[in-house]
Symmetry: C2
Subunit: 449 residues, 2 copies
């Protein structure tokens, strides 16, 4: 999304050290667009332009750069300026970036960051990746319950620049236990009664997450409860931080990519596709590909067992791929539909019988249709109209087997506590391949002998 439109002007302003115009450039547009117009510059030029924005705006523009660019800047620009930038970034973002730096650089930068921010950064660094703790920020508005709406508004006004969200006030007691939440909405609705205590506005039935809960669970709760932010607590209900809606959208997108990869039998990449090195990529693909390969190897042994039958009726060979792919494709349709429906709670474990019945009917309809086309083709290849009936009978049986196994296996895996997205497709494919061949030969023997 690099935009080169303003590059010549920006370089000219830099050459002239035109403070006024550079300051205007930094403030005139939405920070995302400012970032896009700057990305065509060299690191050094870009960093100099950035210094014309005041620190909080600078941090916001910076936050919209590409990830690699951010890491590069942090690694190479003057330490004191970087330390100031880190102080203004959201703590969770700062932690993610610092993690990418060489250890000595990270330490010397952190030494320049004010003690309070440094402590927050150190604390967040201790949470494992993928947990609520690792994506939370500590910059939430914490207030005691005895203050008034007027006082709360003043406090929020004074601190708003340093808060990650001003849309919820978190009510904590003197030992930082989370007691309740006041939304900006209810604060505003009490604007005509400014002496009201927060205690009277506060919701005390709070939706929150534990710091070590899975980030996917965070996303589910935020979506279910329509929240803008969710508080993170420890098991004694101490308020640790909050996770805001924008981080939740990132989590949803990340989990989505993971699930796509799982369905294609790739172990989820922790980084983006382009940034993953080939060794990691071949490991994450190779392990599942090898599993699938072993399933397929079994088909070779099964087919080898039936060498005599296939030599007696050689026209059967031509249809082997067709039979296998009909079962495989209808099975992967069923398993993907059921995996998605399980993820969105559209299907529960207890629905297995309803799902199986639906999919068997589905297999009958789809298989019946494909069997008809298959028969019309088989007539040309098989030695007789009668012999050709092997093909439609097999296709119908294999498709029904595909939809049945494809629908039940994800539910079984989920019941066993395994990840249906990861396990189902390889197993459905493997079982259907072998079953398909067995059904095919048995039907052929029955009809042709």
């Amino acid at each position: 999304m690099v935009n080169t439109l303003f590059l010549p002007e920006l370089r000219e302003m830099l050459a002239d050290a035109n403070t006024t115009e550079l300051a205007v450039f930094c403030t005139a547009l939405h920070p995302v667009r400012t970032a896009e117009f700057m990305e065509g510059l060299q690191d050094g030029e870009l960093w100099r332009v950035l210094q014309y924005a005041e620190p909080n705006l600078r941090a916001e523009i910076f936050s919209y750069f590409e990830w690699d660019r951010k890491v590069e800047l942090l690694a190479e620009q003057p330490e004191a300026e970087i330390a100031e930038l880190i102080t203004c970034l959201a703590v969770d973002d700062a932690v993610d970036l610092i993690q990418e730096l060489p250890l000595d650089r990270a330490e010397s930068l952190l030494a320049l960051v004010p003690a309070a921010d440094r402590r927050d950064i150190r604390r967040l660094q201790t949470y494992a990746e993928g947990t609520a703790g690792s994506i939370m920020t500590t910059e939430a508005a914490r207030l005691p319950e005895y203050i008034t709406v007027r006082q709360a508004l003043e406090k929020l006004g004074a601190e708003s620049e340093n808060l990650e969200t001003v849309y919820y006030l978190y009510i904590v007691d003197e030992t930082n236990h989370l007691r309740g939440i006041v939304s900006a909405r209810s604060l505003l609705s009490a604007i005509a009664r400014q002496e009201t205590k927060l205690a009277d506005l506060m919701e005390s039935d709070i939706v929150c997450v534990l710091a070590d809960e899975d980030q996917a669970e965070v996303a589910r709760k935020v979506a279910r409860y329509n929240l803008l932010a969710i508080p993170v607590v420890d098991d004694q209900r101490h308020m640790l931080g909050i996770i805001t809606h924008d981080d939740v959208i990132d989590v949803i997108n990340e989990e989505m990519s993971d699930d796509f990869q799982r369905i294609a039998a790739v172990e989820p990449l922790s980084d983006s596709y382009m940034r993953t090195d080939l060794i990691t990529l071949s490991w994450k693909r190779g392990m599942w590909l090898t599993l699938l390969f072993f399933f397929a190897l079994l088909t070779a042994f099964v087919l080898d067992l039936y060498e005599v039958e296939l030599e007696t009726f050689p026209w059967l060979i031509a249809f082997i791929p067709l039979i296998i792919s009909s079962g495989g494709n209808s099975g992967s349709q069923s398993s993907t539909l059921v995996i998605t429906a399980l993820a969105t709670k559209d299907v529960e474990l207890s629905d297995w019988w309803i799902v199986l019945k639906r999919e068997m009917v589905m297999g009958l309809l789809l298989g019946g249709f494909l069997a008809t086309i298959g028969y019309l083709t088989a007539i040309f290849i098989a030695p007789s109209m009668y012999a050709a009936t092997v093909i439609p009978i097999t296709i119908l049986s294999v498709v029904i087997a595909g939809t049945s196994i494809g629908s039940v296996l994800p539910i079984v895996f989920k019941r066993l506590g395994l990840d249906p997205a990861m396990m189902s497709n390889p197993f459905v494919a493997g079982i259907i391949d072998i079953l398909g061949i067995l059904i095919y030969i048995q039907v052929a023997i029955l009809i042709l002998r």
Copy 2:
């Protein structure tokens, strides 16, 4: 998520018409939990309990019921009460629900809704499904630029219950052109200077969407710009409504399900899996399954052409499924990774050559490994160690073909303006199946003759 814990108590309170306790029940918990505790009741009981909550809370609790339950209640409960409920629902949700009702019921309900709300509902009904207009709501705070922070706070306070979000104020001129946005954050930061005009706080570089833009584009913009809500305008920049973060999360989840279904070669279901009838489902699956079937049929004709070769070396038959599935699985890994990377802009169209090179190296690594296992197995089935080399050479070639075609085809489809998620997997599978067999037979002829 039905919770039966309180059902006996609720029924007792209803029998006693215990107003106090029922009112407490409705307000004590988060509305989501209140909804969960009520869902075990019969429609009539549930509706009576709901009447003990004041109208806005009633609408909020109602909004958390399961979709089918909501439609049922709307269809069957007293018209006057339903009309009041509709007035309190977010307009976009009201539109979606009314759409599910029989036409005469919908009309008689709408007749009871106040004219202003009815007009909003009618207007939203005109937008096509999947567009920004269809998911927006009209309940946004619209203010002129000449009013002060104090006046804005008072106005927000008075209206906060009827607004979908209080977190952005939309500044419009007298003809409803969108001129700027003031966030609640900047309003709060000006709380010490209450005579400031909104014009001085307003951002005028606004991110907005057109009413007929795709909802996926809405989700991308909201995620990219970290917004809580995005304004919807027409092409003369008249303010039509807003789309809030919770609807955006719904869109992301919906688009995600669609893409999963596309990757599994299912035409996206417009409804959930369990609510889609079997005819629709078999049509949406059947069309792609049939396309895949025709590709697989071609393999039958190709194999039929090589009947002589296969009869001469019958042991080759055993490996047909293995060859095809090696190519198919590695190809679908590549295409899914590239489809996901294209969707997240990790890969751009211009990167095709980098991607192709990566995937060819990938194919070499993965194919080399699988070829080794394949050779070790082939020794047992093939007549000689020399003859067995057909298998590893074929596997290596087919896997490289799979990763190359799997990576390039989604980029080609995207370049042609087609949906890579929908088109790629069937075509990759189809091409690889046929190519796999051609490679296999050619390698066999080369080595065994």
